[in-house]
Every structure is written in structure tokens, then in C-alpha cells.
């Protein structure tokens, strides 16, 4: 089966939040409490157990490359964030129940009838995506519309996106489109444009993202980590030091018992 994913081109996003609404509607997700944050136009705040698309609004005192605006030194960045469906996924590797699986479309899916809500995936996601819902105690995140894909439909967010900022399709094709887009933007003067997580080489810690992005500022500006790593990459050191510590403990026990013999 083909690898399918998202390419979210943030330079095309107009911040309409149709993706957020389409996702909520299709997946029948509960509301987030309708809080007013004062953070630009962002009242969704973050991805969570019942928010699987989140549009970030960044107001910068810097113009976008090659552009002039009536407002002077200003540019407004929008970015529709989503689960990255990492090629090496921290949540999937950490899951002790086998609830989190990789689908035939190469996306990462949580089986809600298997998850027992241990919460280990929550601290294992370097992007802070997956979370446990308070009402049913189970971990939830974007499914890449697994149900729609089964019927050959594109995910609800991509379907609703009016500017095609969210592109869905075959991963290899998306990468070619994305690289072409970066070159186009560079020739038009938006030299800041770059791809985030498009391939394993640029993001070794996750071995690349099946939902990758075109950004025009530093990852932190969009609330993305600069160097995300699937935690299991690092577990060898921990086990090795535990082995040494364990031997030390046995030696301490032998010492304590032996030294007190008559």
C-alpha cells in the first residue's frame, strides 16, 4: 500500500479554521471550552485529545521576504498544525498495550477499544500532540481520517481547506510538490521558506514526518521543536546504566550480608 500523508504549506494558509471545524464535525469531537485567549486569533490554543487540527496565528514585526505591506514591518503567519504521523513515532514505540498501531496507509492510529489510558504516549510525543481525554480516560489524536481513507476519501481537513494549504496524497508525490514549491518561493523572494520534517535526513530523530510542513520562520515560532526525537532512540543508555546499577546493588547486598557473618 502507498504511504499517504499531509503536506501543509503554511504560506497558503489564510487562517480560516475550516480544517478545525471539518475535523471536529467528521470525527464528532467535543468542544474545547470556548475560551478567549487574546493570542491573536487563536482561541484553540493547542492540539489535544479532542482537537486534531489547530491553526496557529503568528504576528511578526518582520516582513516576509520580497514583500512590502502598507503596515511596514509586519507579517502574519498562519499554520494548521496536526499530528505528524512520524515515520518513527514516539507514541507508538512507547505504547505498552499495542493500542497504537501503524495502518496500511503508514499513518499512526490509536485503537480506542484497546488503550487503557496509561499516559506513557503523552510524555513520549516530542510534539505534544497526543493526550488523554478526561471523560473516557483514553488517549486520542488525529487518525489521518483512517475511516475516510478506507473508502478512498481524503481526510476532512484537506477536503475543507479552501486554499489547498493542506495537501493530502502519496507521500513521495507530496515531497516532490513541496520541493518544487520551496524553489518557487525562493525565486519569488521568499528565501526563508524551508521544509520541516519532509524526509529522514532533515529530521533523523523521527526519521521524517508523514505530515510535514513548509515554514518561513524558525520551528519554535510555530511551537514546533527544533530537533524532535522519538524517545526510544535513547533508551539504550538508560538500560545500560541500569545494568551497572543493578550489579552494584547485588554487590552491596553481598557486602552487607558477608561483612556481618561470624
Amino acid at each position: 500500500m502507498k504511504q499517504r500523508g499531509f503536506f501543509t504549506d503554511t504560506t497558503l494558509c489564510i487562517g480560516c479554521k475550516a480544517c478545525e471545524v471539518a475535523c471536529k464535525e467528521w470525527n464528532q469531537l467535543p468542544d474545547d471550552g470556548f475560551r478567549f485567549t487574546g493570542m491573536s486569533y487563536d482561541n484553540t490554543v493547542e492540539l489535544g485529545a479532542s482537537t486534531w487540527r489547530h491553526v496557529a496565528f503568528i504576528e511578526r514585526p518582520v516582513p516576509l521576504g520580497g514583500q512590502e505591506t502598507g503596515l511596514g514591518n509586519f507579517s502574519w503567519l498562519f499554520m494548521s498544525d496536526v499530528c505528524k504521523h512520524c515515520a518513527r513515532a514516539g507514541c507508538l514505540e512507547s505504547c505498552p498495550t499495542g493500542a497504537i498501531v501503524r495502518t496500511e496507509f503508514d499513518s499512526v492510529f490509536v485503537q480506542p477499544d484497546v488503550c487503557n489510558g496509561c499516559g506513557y504516549c503523552v510524555v513520549s510525543c516530542p510534539f505534544g500532540v497526543i493526550d488523554r481525554r478526561a471523560d473516557d480516560g483514553v488517549a486520542w489524536k488525529c487518525t489521518l481520517c483512517y475511516d475516510r481513507q478506507k473508502d478512498d476519501l481524503e481526510p476532512a481537513c484537506a477536503k475543507a481547506c479552501p486554499t489547498d494549504s493542506i495537501k493530502f496524497g502519496d507521500l513521495l508525490e507530496l515531497r516532490l510538490i513541496a520541493e518544487q514549491r520551496v524553489q518557487d518561493l525562493h525565486t519569488r523572494g521568499v528565501t526563508e521558506a524551508y521544509l520541516y520534517g519532509a524526509d529522514p535526513a532533515s529530521q533523523p530523530g523521527t526519521e521524517g514526518l508523514n505530515a510535514f510542513f513548509l515554514l518561513v520562520d524558525k520551528p519554535e515560532v510555530y511551537n514546533l521543536p527544533r530537533d524532535p526525537v522519538a524517545p526510544a532512540n535513547r533508551s539504550e543508555t538508560g538500560w545500560a546504566t541500569l545494568a551497572v546499577a543493578g550489579l552494584g546493588m547485588v554487590a552491596a547486598a553481598i557486602g552487607a550480608v558477608w561483612s556481618t557473618r561470624r
Partner: protein, 304 residues
């Protein structure tokens, strides 16, 4: 290429919002770290005492097995209490996921529970009972080695900066603290003179190691003030410091000569230190996950 900010002091954030999610775990998780660690160390000590074949140590072996078995029961209950869906606790044994320290730990806990349960309940008067008890005791002691410290590996195999960046010493620190906690519990019990000496010596090593590896964690993070922050300030910082002071006090009191009352004081201090340390490390992870500067792994945050 990802752009680099030349100004390393002011790292950009998104309205200071956290990048990572807060852990969803509750108090029962660090409580388990303490109980499980203690049980592991007790079973190791029990197995070593059993292997000497010394009849004088039989009461100690029995006490260790009972503490170990009780620790498995209480620890499992604490972990199940933390689950979002407690009734699905047995899903932990649906798969064996070698990449997940939590999965490995669940199997260790399940197997150790059976072994220590057999060891603690097998009737000593019958020959077959003693055999089952001894086999169970050795198996539980072997499983007690990883049980005492796998929680350190579990925490350091996450995306939470203060946990994963202390991966070199966190498992050793947890094992040291397990030994100290186990000995501290023994110091609070009614023991024979030899058992008291064993508890003292086992505890002295554990407490000294606990201090050494707390310092090692601190110095490992010293070049990274953003990540180390939770160990220096807030509730986690206060607990961390308190735990260190209590360990020093417990070690000092236990090294003073004689008197059973002093021994008991050392045990109480050491127990408080062990519990305090687990909660300190646990809550440090919450502050760390909240800080976007620690999580972004950006320039100025790494030791580059």
C-alpha cells in the same frame, strides 16, 4: 535548511505556550516508584541472604520476601489506580513491546509478583514448600534487580527534557534510592542485632550512592540551566533539596554508634528522603514539560 537564531539568549516561543503535553500521571505513580523500588531492593537482599544458606538469616529472608510480595501488590494497585481505564489493566500483558520501558516493566512486575508471592507464602515446614519458596525467592531476587530501577529508564525514555537529559544517572539514582529506602524500612522494624548491622551497611551504601548520583544528575545538567531549572526552584526543587538534606541526616544518624532509637530515626529520615526524591523527580517533569524553551531543543538549550 532550518534557520538559526544568532541571538541565543532570546529563544522564540509561541505565546510562551508549552510545546509538550503535561504528564497525565497522578501521585500514585511516584508513590509506586518508591514502593516498587523498595520491593526490588528487598527481594535482592533476600535472595542474597537465602544463598548464604545461613539458618540465622532465615527470618531476614522471610521478611524480605514478605516486603517484596507486599510491594508488588501495593505497587500494582497504585499503577492501576493511575490508569485512565483501570478495568483494562490486563491490556498491559497483551503484547511485549521491547521498545517501551513501561511494557518491559509491566512484565517484570507481573512475573515478580508471582515469584515473590510464591516465595512469601510457600509453607516452610514442608520440603516441597521450602523448595518452591527458594526457587521463587531467587526468581524474585533476579527480577528485583530491574524492578528497583527500571522506572528511571522509563522516565528518561520520554520527550520531557529534565527526564531524558538526566538519563545517564537517573536509573542509577533510582536504584540507589531503592536500596536506601529498603534499608530505611528495615531500620524502622524490630530486628536482631545482625539484621540491624546488615540494614545499616546496606543502607549506608544506598544513602551514600543516592547523594553521589543526585550530585551527578545536577552536574550533568549544570551546563543547561533551562532544563535544570525544575531541580532548583518550585515544589520539585524544594523536594529535591529536602530529599538531599534528609539523606545526609539519615546517613549521619545511622552511622552514630548504638541505640535502637537512633536507628529508627535514621529509618524515618531515610524513608522521607526516598519518597521526597521520587516526587521531586516526578514533579520536575511537569515544570519541564511546561517550559517551551527546554522542549524546543533549540540553540542555546543544547550543550553545543
Amino acid at each position: 535548511m532550518i534557520p538559526v537564531d544568532p541571538d541565543t539568549t532570546a529563544l522564540a516561543t509561541y505565546y510562551d505556550r508549552p510545546i509538550l503535553k503535561q504528564p497525565v500521571w497522578i501521585w500514585s505513580v511516584p508513590a509506586y516508584f518508591y514502593v516498587g523500588g523498595l520491593a526490588g531492593a528487598a527481594l535482592v537482599l533476600g535472595a542474597v541472604a537465602q544463598l548464604t544458606g545461613d539458618p540465622e538469616l532465615r527470618p531476614l529472608v522471610r521478611t524480605c520476601r514478605s516486603i517484596g510480595a507486599a510491594g508488588h501488590v501495593i505497587g500494582s494497585a497504585l499503577l492501576i489506580h493511575d490508569l485512565g481505564r483501570p478495568s483494562r489493566f490486563f491490556h498491559m500483558l497483551r503484547v511485549f513491546n521491547v521498545k517501551s520501558p513501561l511494557s518491559i516493566g509491566s512484565w517484570i512486575l507481573a512475573a515478580g509478583g508471582i515469584a515473590s508471592g510464591l516465595a512469601a507464602t510457600a509453607p516452610e515446614r514442608k520440603r516441597i514448600g521450602r523448595m518452591i519458596g527458594n526457587i521463587g525467592g531467587l526468581a524474585a531476587g533476579t527480577l528485583g534487580i530491574p524492578l528497583a530501577g527500571y522506572t528511571g529508564v522509563l522516565l528518561s525514555t520520554t520527550a520531557v527534557p529534565v527526564w531524558y537529559k538526566s538519563q545517564r544517572y537517573l536509573p542509577v539514582l533510582f536504584v540507589s534510592s531503592a536500596v536506601a529506602s529498603c534499608a530505611s524500612l528495615f531500620e524502622m522494624l524490630e530486628l536482631s542485632p545482625r539484621e540491624t548491622r546488615i540494614a545499616h551497611r546496606f543502607g549506608a551504601i544506598g544513602k551514600a550512592a543516592e547523594l553521589v548520583f543526585m550530585t551527578a544528575v545536577e552536574s550533568d545538567l549544570s551546563g543547561d540551566s533551562v532544563t535544570a531549572q525544575p531541580l532548583r526552584s518550585g515544589i520539585s526543587g524544594a523536594l529535591w533539596t529536602a530529599s538531599k538534606v534528609l539523606t545526609v541526616a539519615s546517613l549521619a544518624v545511622s552511622l552514630m554508634p548504638g541505640q535502637s532509637r537512633r536507628t529508627r530515626v535514621a529509618g524515618v529520615l531515610g524513608t522521607m528522603a526516598g519518597i521526597g526524591l521520587r516526587f521531586a523527580v516526578f514533579y520536575a517533569g511537569f515544570s519541564s514539560a511546561r517550559d517551551p524553551r527546554a522542549a524546543s531543543g533549540g540553540i542555546g538549550n543544547e550543550n553545543t
